[in-house]
Amino acid sequence: MQDDMQDGMQDGVPEGGAAAAVVDNRKLLLHATGLHKSYKVGGEKLEVLRGVDMQVREGEILAILGKSGCGKSTLLHVLGWLDKPDQGRIMFDGVDRSTLNAQERARLRNQVMGFVFQFYHLLPELTAFENVLMPSMIQYGPMAWRQEKKHATERARALLDLVSLTPRAKHRPRQLSGGERQRVAIARALQNEPRFLFCDEPTGNLDGKTAEDVRDLLWGLNEEQNQTMVIVTHDAKLASHAHRVVHLERGRIVEGKDLDLVEEVALDS
């Protein structure tokens, strides 16, 4: 089924994008068609997504740009199966979201997708280290945990080291700076070795130097482990390094814009 789809999708891959040619023959990991999502606010319908079509291939870094409030976070949540679209289809690695029940979706989110939230969303009662470990604790039941504990804690430690937070391992989120929390959130997203990483403004609250560090970290992951990611950002510089950039405008995806334009959009958002 996977192969069928990959063949079928070949035509749908956009052309003319700066990086499109590079990723053309890679495996299609995420495929969304006709996504609609609206919110009801005080009796009025706010249409945030109005027919989003998107594909992400394995090993690709895709940047989504858009004005504030245009629905980037909403789109990311829908793509990451956290939220349900009103209409449309999302396939992840050949599996249709709508064919799975809540529990199966939760398991898939836990094991295959990593999420870096716009507002970090760390658990305040837990230390940085425990926050990073959380996805593994959720993955394994009490029995399996005995066997996996060693491996999981080693990985959490290595990830904290990767984001240069080993000295902060025992700190609670409120004892950490914004940038440190962001890095803990990234480490947590990577804990279960996800095939797909969703990042919502990973550098949004960081200064230039720290933002660069985070970018190096993410791009390093892509180079070394072929990590696939979708990054929502305001940061034109960050977007300019992506393999491909798309825009979310008036509830739809617009592809293939020049990076100059990217910069323009980013500046006035």
Binding site: D83, I138, W145
Partner: protein, 465 residues
């Protein structure tokens, strides 16, 4: 794995949870203490009252001429009724104990007052196998025959067994042989404080009473030439032994004499006025009673000791049931505190719930985080309640004495409750039931908030910022 982990974290990070745990603890502790005391009370009542009463009591309803000889009755009982081990005769005679009273309120002449008692005439060799009297003896001159005393033999006097409570209350042994005061509060009390003696000192004092005299006054009916005559007599009895049946009320109004002496004193025609029966198995008492009524019902009223004390026993049991019901509300209250605090926690932790859900915890996972929370409160609460209740139960007399000396509150006056110490029985099944019930209450109280948490929409929850 995360469920218990997060539940513990939330438990630890919220001080209000301590209140919930404290609520459950208080409920469990109080219930355990009350049930232990009430059980102890029931057990002690059964033991002591039965101890002096015997299992089954036959009271003659016929005149002395129609009354079967005791040996005949005894043989009949053993032959016709299974499970009868032994029987003993008793004759009761109301007497007054004459004592020197310092109180002006007491009707007294020349400082002498009267205290009503029952002189119980017993056949020692039979009595000792039928009731527990022998085990209650604190001091005797001759263990083989508690009614023996050389002075009594020498001067042809009657001997008696008096109780420790009686000796305490009436200051027995206040005066020495030549009449001067040697113990201002009596031999059984401390000369300085007037408090009852305990332990070895109490036993020594009891021994010192042996050979001393108590004076009794009693009335006798006699028929002289077809006319009923009433005359009063008095007698100095020699104390040949002291016992303690641990029943502060009954002990105060009883003394034991030889059955022959009582019959003679009261000019009692009946060979016996009560036949006490001991069974090999008290569990069968009710059915045996029925059989006995069939065989001896024409000449005797047949009762178990529980029949005789039925009202008292029922009152104790009802009090226990009532107290348990009332005190269970403390545990329920604990449940409501859990409900309230956990609901608060869920509201407060809405964002966390969204995060954990986003990381891949299912609804059941989130449900169990908060179920564990309630359950942990229940478990910790009932374990600490167990510890507190056990400590209190073990030290209940210390607490009682402390209350009395510190605040002058006597929560357990012996003349109301029959016992000088608060009896307790540690009954594990009851204790475990109390603990289990409390854990269930905590669990149920946690259910509602937990369900609420599990129904949260993770995305909406994540919007909490």
């Amino acid at each position: 794995m995360y469920r218990l982990f997060l539940a513990l974290r939330y438990l630890r990070s919220r001080l209000v949870n301590l209140i919930s745990i404290g609520g459950v603890m208080a409920g469990v502790a109080v219930l355990i203490v009350v049930v232990s005391i009430m059980d102890g009370f029931q057990a002690r009542v059964k033991r002591t009252v039965r101890g002096s009463l015997s299992h089954i009591i036959l009271t003659p309803t016929v005149g002395a001429d129609k009354l079967p000889a005791f040996t005949v009755l005894e043989q009949g009982l053993k032959r016709d009724i299974g499970a009868v081990e032994a029987a003993a005769p008793q004759v009761h005679l109301p007497v007054f104990h004459e004592y020197r009273s310092r109180k002006r309120t007491v009707v007294a002449m020349d400082g002498m007052a009267l205290h009503q008692m029952l002189a119980i005439g017993i056949d020692w060799q039979r009595e000792r196998v039928v009731t527990e009297l022998e085990s209650y003896l604190l001091a005797v001159f001759d263990p083989k025959d508690p009614f023996f005393h050389p002075t009594a033999v020498e001067f042809e006097k009657t001997t008696c067994l008096v109780s420790r409570t009686f000796a305490e209350n009436f200051g027995l042994g206040t005066r020495g042989a030549d009449g001067e005061v040697v113990h201002p509060y009596g031999a059984m009390r401390d000369d300085v404080t007037g408090e009852p003696l305990r332990g070895d000192a109490m036993r020594a004092a009891a021994t010192s009473l042996i050979g001393q005299e108590v004076r009794i006054v009693y009335g006798v009916q006699k028929s002289e030439g077809g006319e009923r005559r009433f005359s009063t007599n008095s007698k100095n009895l020699i104390i040949s032994g002291v016992y303690d049946a641990h029943d502060a009320v009954e002990d105060n109004t009883r003394m034991y004499l030889g059955i022959g002496a009582v019959r003679e004193m009261g000019d009692v025609a009946h060979e016996y006025l009560q036949a006490n029966v001991r069974l090999s198995d008290y569990e069968q008492a009710d059915s045996i009673k029925k059989t006995m009524i069939g065989v001896f019902g024409d000449k005797f009223v047949v009762e178990t000791w529980e029949d005789q004390k039925a009202n008292f026993l029922r009152a104790v049991n009802q009090e226990k049931v009532l107290l348990v019901i009332v005190l269970s509300f403390i545990v329920l209250l604990g449940g409501f505190i859990i409900l309230a605090t956990l609901t608060l926690t869920v509201v407060e932790k809405t964002r966390d719930i969204g995060i954990v859900a986003a990381l891949g915890a299912g609804r059941s996972g989130i449900l169990s985080i908060f179920l564990w929370n309630g359950l942990l409160i229940g478990i910790l609460g009932s374990l600490s309640g167990l510890a507190l209740g056990a400590w209190f139960t073990a030290n209940v007399d210390g607490v009682k004495d402390f209350l009395k000396s510190a605040f002058g509150i006597d929560i357990f006056p012996p003349n109301i409750y029959h016992f000088r110490s608060i009896p307790t029985v540690w009954d594990w099944p009851s204790v475990l039931m109390i603990m289990g019930g409390s854990v269930i209450v905590a669990f149920v109280a946690g259910l509602l908030p937990a369900l609420r948490a599990s129904r949260l929409d993770p995305i909406a929850a994540l919007r909490y910022e």
